[in-house]
Symmetry: C2
Subunit: 392 residues, 2 copies
């Protein structure tokens, strides 16, 4: 319970609000900012001037509007001058990008990650990517921080990956290892891959404008980023959203977490490939192979997709009763399965979801695709700046 | 995205913050308020004066402190002068209370509710209780509003009960029916029974100080009020928290909702009584009978309690992975079962819950017991006042 803010706090809050607005929405006229932020014109002018001086935004006349009168100046984020490093550690690949303010990917690198790769072996190529890209960064730029998305449970305070069953890491000091390799990279923040992707789809993607969202990401495992009333459901230690380990089948298969019948044992990569008679394969290409075969009429592939679709609908139905969301987004390989199994998913979801809990729900695929994790990792770094633009 | 508040908004916010503080924490010295709310002494003095003039708080010298110097005045909510009507519609009973500011129950009434009772038959005794209690209300008092807790899914906007399977109501205009019976009672707000109980246990009960809480309430069905990062997980339409209809056993029994194997079919009253060989009984007394028999060594009762305990732990494990809560509170008949089945519950929860998700979890029984629903119903009415004390 806190009392109201001081005038100086209000000004700093307003600076952050304006910068966040153009960061998320892109170039915006002063007139629209006045309107959207509920501040008067002179306040918007003063805030914009401060942010311009700090090199965070720039102002310019808009393109010809065809209307009479002096046009409102357009404020845009300095995407090419203010940037973060964004890293993503996934089951099958390692990615790095330079992300400009406004969420623009300015440069990127990617390499395969063999399953079973250890932390130090993963950290090195990521650091090399950063060193490579750094060589191409113009002089007149400002580095804000580094964000890392990891397909696992991350303790934000110190960047320890507590558990990443699909990657095979337990209690690994990934943050410290990256800090050592990156040298002067300074501020480094780790987050969960599904969480950061969810926030990006929520702020500027498939769930823009929705306050209650479940973003599911599948590969070998299944994770979720959950937004309730506009905010991430993080939980006490930041480990919320582990829906892949919601047990849906008490009589099901053993899971990599040690439990049995977890949702990801029924809808993850292994389940799909096994149902399709392709248990010897693995990886995204193999999943896409089953989905393609199902679309071409292969009956075993269709069986596999139906089976997995049923279980997807089952778990989504449970989550719908718990969260009453507006949107459920299917990311990763769940996106591909959703596209061919939408009917099964919807039908099972309708059987389990209570009418009031599911009545306004929209099932969607991601708008930003796999870029969401990189943009989201960038957001982890920008967050400090957006909170207090002139200090951080 | 909103810009900062005006000075007048800050003052009103501060009035609400101070009033909410003493409403939740009871009598508090000006010195402590200064400290807790981060405002200076003269601001606290001015706010207290405004609230005193409005008849919402009173100030008095504290009891002898034994310390030298002028003691800080103590501010307390006007519990006996400012009140709401609080109603609770439950599976087996109807309750009404007059609740004073500060959450003090000043008067109360209760009657049985035969299962199958229709809306109009339930509304009438509640209205009579209010009329009765109203006759005893002193002159110099202020009525704030009426809050109603219902064991079902409620649309707050118009007070329609969308679905209350355990009560047997579907799309019933309970708010309108109550308004018609109560006559001049004015502002009326409905909420879900588990939701409002959760908020009270969170603000002043077993989960005070915890920001991530799951409050479970069981009788025939099972509902939850879920607090994430200090706020209720309401969902898009306000129907979140229907954990009783999370399917835990795909091969389980039919549920009153039309689905199969919902959590409440495994841990609700019917399951316990059936396992105990007492399928012909029903109600809370019958549940307590099984729990007592188990404590006295009756083997079939012990079997029943173990079975239900396993399934309680199972579902709690799922919720722990999804929410990473600090506290899980067992209310209603789940409280009684928890007290004899804590070992099973903990063991199954530990097997399903990921270590990071359950590492700081505390399992608890409610502090406010069944009063939570009445105090919580009162909160629905006080909420308007606390938001803007001098307007509402």
């Amino acid at each position: 319970m806190r009392a109201g803010p001081s005038q100086e706090e209000v000004r700093r809050h307003n600076l952050g609000t304006l910068l966040r607005y153009v960061h998320v929405h892109g170039a915006t006229s002063r007139a629209e900012l006045t309107n959207r932020l509920g501040l008067n014109r002179s306040t918007i002018g003063a805030l914009t001037a401060d942010l311009t001086t700090a090199g965070l935004v720039s102002e310019a006349a808009p393109r010809e509007t065809g209307r009479a009168g002096r046009p409102s100046l357009v404020v845009r984020p300095e995407s090419s001058r203010v940037y973060s490093w964004a890293l993503s550690i996934e089951v099958d690949r390692l990615r790095a990008a330079r992300v400009g303010l406004g969420g623009r990917i300015l440069d990127r690198r990617e390499t395969d990650r063999p399953r079973g790769m250890q932390v130090l072996d993963a950290v090195q190529p990521l650091a090399e990517f950063v060193h490579e890209m750094r060589a191409g960064v113009p002089d007149d730029t400002r580095y804000v921080g580094t964000g890392v998305a990891v397909a696992g449970m991350v303790r934000r305070a110190d960047g320890v990956v507590r558990l990443a069953p699909t990657i095979g890491w337990v209690e690994e000091p990934v943050g410290a290892a990256l800090r050592a390799e990156l040298g002067d990279a300074g501020r480094l923040t780790l987050g969960n891959h599904a969480d950061v992707s969810a926030l990006v789809e929520h702020s500027r993607g498939a769930a823009a404008g929705c306050d209650n969202v479940i973003y599911l990401y599948g590969d070998v495992g299944v994770g979720a980023g959950i937004i309730a009333d506009g905010r991430r459901v993080a939980g006490h230690g930041g480990y919320g959203g582990e829906v892949g380990h919601m047990v849906v089948n008490p009589y099901g298969r053993e899971c990599s977490c040690g439990s049995r019948g977890c949702w990801e044992t029924e809808i993850g990569e292994y389940a799909l490939l096994k149902h399709a008679g392709r248990g010897d394969q693995s990886g995204r290409e193999a999943v896409l192979g089953v989905v393609d075969a199902a679309m071409r009429g292969d009956s075993q592939a269709q069986f596999a997709v139906r089976q997995v679709g049923e279980w997807i609908g089952f778990g989504v139905g449970n989550l719908v009763n718990i969260f009453n969301p507006e949107a459920v987004i299917f990311g990763g390989t769940l996106r591909d399965v959703y596209l061919v199994a939408a009917a099964q998913i919807r039908s099972r979801l309708n059987a389990i979801g209570l009418p009031a809990c599911r009545e306004h729900i929209r099932l969607r695929t991601p708008e930003l695709g796999d870029d969401a994790a990189l943009i989201g990792a960038g957001e982890l770094a920008f967050e400090h700046l957006l909170k207090d633009p002139l200090i951080n």
